[in-house]
Symmetry: C2
């Protein structure tokens, strides 16, 4: 059995999320089906993160265990050929130690959240960014974002379905910057709670619209209560961009 590390790009609009499900297309399920059809036996796939339905991947890191002999290049080619026409692409493939694990060896995750802040509807960016009509003050959002950095109990920003053992996490980066109509939010941590990035972005948008102050962000954080959450940003704007090992 050989373990290969994969870098995976996908358009999340077409899937019920990363994780394999009994009904409905998922990214993990698609790659495992492709792998099994190549190897003639199951090829389990694990990833650094489990993204929700509609969330995109620019460089998700995963591993796949394959019993048959393949060069990394041939495996990548065979997977990409089998994955068509689904919008999933294996960008790189390399052999790794069988002890190496895409999820458990990962020491850092990075996400990008894209907002298009304008009045007219989206065309080319529909489903690829969150459309926010009301003008946003990106500088105020960036100031409020800093209130969340560091070691905190992030219960306020945690989905009720979160399976993490502890709500205490260290947020390393949360940055907001504007480039024309587009606002980019970058989040980095060793790991995130389920819905944490989207929950933080939802509250940052309340700050950007002037409904919340930076102090309201601190109050929400300290409440350690999901009911204190502003709201969840939609999945459309969220991209998994990097796993660090």
């Amino acid at each position: 059995m050989t373990r290969f590390r994969l870098t995976v790009e996908f358009d999340g609009r077409n899937f019920m999320g990363w994780q394999r499900q009994k009904h409905g297309a998922t990214i993990q399920g698609s790659i495992e089906e492709a792998g099994a059809s190549i190897a003639g036996q199951p090829t389990p796939v694990m990833a650094a993160g489990r993204t929700d339905a509609g969330v995109h991947g620019l460089a998700m890191t995963a591993h796949i265990d394959v019993a048959r002999e393949f060069t990394p290049f041939r495996l990548m080619e065979a997977l990409n050929a089998r994955l068509k026409p689904r919008p999933i692409a294996i960008l790189s493939c390399e052999e790794v130690d069988p002890e190496w694990h895409a999820r458990f060896s990962c020491i850092g995750r990075r996400y990008l959240y894209r907002i298009i802040n304008r009045r007219p509807p989206l065309t080319l960016e529909a489903g690829r960014a969150w459309h926010v009509i009301k003008p946003l003050d990106a500088d105020a959002m960036d100031v409020a974002a800093k209130r969340l950095i560091g070691l905190h109990d992030f219960t306020t920003f945690r989905s009720v379905h979160c399976q993490s053992r502890s709500p205490v996490k260290t947020l390393d980066r949360l940055e907001v910057r504007r480039n024309g109509d587009e606002i980019e939010i970058i989040a980095a941590a060793r790991s995130f709670l389920h819905h944490q990035v989207r929950s933080m972005v939802g509250c940052l948008v309340l700050v950007g619209q002037g409904q919340w102050t930076a102090d309201d962000m601190t109050t929400a954080l300290e409440a350690c209560n999901r009911a204190a959450l502003g709201f969840n940003a939609p999945p459309d704007g969220l991209y998994f961009t990097q796993a660090v090992y």
Copy 2:
């Protein structure tokens, strides 16, 4: 009758091109239908350029003639509301002199062509860029592009369906630059022949793959013969980005 200048963004994948047709959705047809339903009578629309099926618009300039009284903001809002869910958005609207004409007053057109140059298939960029697998030398492409700049007979790069009176045009800019896997080509001229940008890009890719030299580009240009063309790049990567007045 009041004339309004519009800036229009659209995802070309969903349309048979800009120009109204008897059968099939077009951008011009969609805006005219929306305008007529608002004004209760025909509202003719004209644009700086007529893009082909699959070609996108980031900022196409058009005008619309409306007999009913509207503020520019209300007209823009009403058009955007009527255009949903089609991927067309009116980004700006302003009243202009009835003599002003989106096509005939235009003194410059600018296009962007996007190539993603990598082996794995496209996911998020499918339909939004041309996927070229073979490695391209963008510097060689940029050198060859310079052979086309200036006043030339562009018959080689002209569609048989082109309605332009003369094949002689002045190409002001044709630049190729690489940014990671992406190659951007920027083209600017007072006006272009039908298929000219896509024909030039097709030949530039032959240069980038080492099949053509810069001298071959000059030979093709000087042939003034469509048969000397390398090939036409697909519409997916082409964006109308600016009209100058």
